[in-house]
């Protein structure tokens, strides 16, 4: 990343930078990570130029280091996200996200006749296909695919 581009969103001292978010997935990522619920200092930028994605978004969270199971949730909406772990203004670690084997909560079952859409129940899916994304509902046994994906 060039110096000039970095200036578009201000730097953080300690925390996590979530980079390479497709611009249209920014709010899904905010939602999934519950960033609207936390009190940390958050800056984000969107519609930044990106060679790979056209328009990308970036989120910087001061003082927050995510657990694996938290960040892997992002992969459902933005599989190519990169995480930079920042300590004392330096990138100390770079990480990719991975689609998990199971998805609990987060995603709504696509089937309107599923019990989870009719009573207050935490959803639970097994990931059947990681490339095209197919989530098999533990309850109704129907698949929800990427196009049908809706967050809780």
């Amino acid at each position: 990343m060039s110096k000039q581009k970095q200036l578009q969103v201000s730097a953080i001292e300690n925390g996590t930078v979530i980079d390479h978010i497709p611009a249209e997935s920014l709010f899904d990522v905010i939602n999934i990570l519950g960033l609207d619920q936390i009190t940390n200092l958050i800056t984000f930028g969107t519609n930044l130029d990106s060679d790979k994605l056209g328009k990308k978004a970036i989120i910087k969270v001061e003082g927050k280091f995510f657990e694996d199971n938290e960040i892997n949730k992002i992969s459902l909406v933005a599989p190519h996200v990169k995480l930079n772990i920042i300590r004392d203004y330096e990138v100390v670690e770079k990480r990719d996200v991975e689609i998990p084997d199971e998805v609990v909560g987060i995603v709504k079952c696509f089937n309107p006749k599923c019990i989870t859409n009719n009573e207050v129940i935490k959803t639970h899916f097994k990931v059947m296909d990681k490339t095209d994304l197919a989530l098999k509902c533990h309850y109704c046994e129907k698949n929800t695919t990427r196009d049908e994906l809706k967050m809780m």
């Binding site: 006749k113 599923c114 019990i115 009573e119 109704c140």
Partner: protein, 301 residues
Amino acid sequence: MKNKSLVSISDYTRDEILRILELAAFYEANPKQPELREKVIASLFFEPSTRTRLSFETAINRLGARVIGFTDSSSSSTTKGETLKDTIKMVSNYADLIVMRHPLEGSARYASEQSRVPIINAGDGANQHPTQTLLDLYSIQKTQGTLENLTVFMVGDLKYGRTVHSLLMALSHFNPVFYFVAPKELEMPCEYKAFLRERGIEFYEQKEMNNLEQADILYMTRVQKERFSDPMEYERVKNAYVLRNAMLDKTKENLKVLHPLPRVNEIHTDVDSSEKAYYFQQAENGVYTRMAIISAIMGLK
């Protein structure tokens, strides 16, 4: 199997399926077995299904247990807005086993997680109806002497028909050959065909009722008008999936015609008198199969 819920046919292994069929044969030979005299079994029908309910309640009575419950949700507390969770929590304090039918898919799995006692799924929407599958298997084994290496034709609505999907999964343990006979709009979904390919199970798809001379089992299902997006298409295909007695002429001696019932017109009444018609006995087998399932879960045998 003891104390384990039966929600989906895939909850049972090949050996467990065979064990149920063995028990079903025992109960058919010895139908009066009041072994559950001290027990209370709840029969919760959140939507009416007289056929399935009577079959279960007959099985429960033959085993000597008492039945509590309701026959449709208008007579239950669910009309007062009680959640499924609360109903199940309450009933599982009273009963030793719960048989339930519910219009929502996944309801039985959820109930099994909330209940202190085992659940038998008697149908959850379009999802699963495992006791139907087990009685189909029992009928097949009884008439063919085996479940192995059979050629099974499935005819009609293969897209939405949950009975054919569950039967397909269960038979996949026994090296079958399948012929799928359905109109384009109702053909077998890709996920099931992918499942068969993965397991190296042979199958053929055809739009017409031919090659019947290959069949050991002819499993007929209803083709319902409301499944078609184009009513003209229904009119065009509806007669193509009606079985008539003359069509059985060149078929194998051992062929049996099965149907989950109730039928509409997909099996002409002229088939009823054929030796090969088995759908009425199939329904009767349901009582023995359900006795076997209840007995296995209650740990009787």
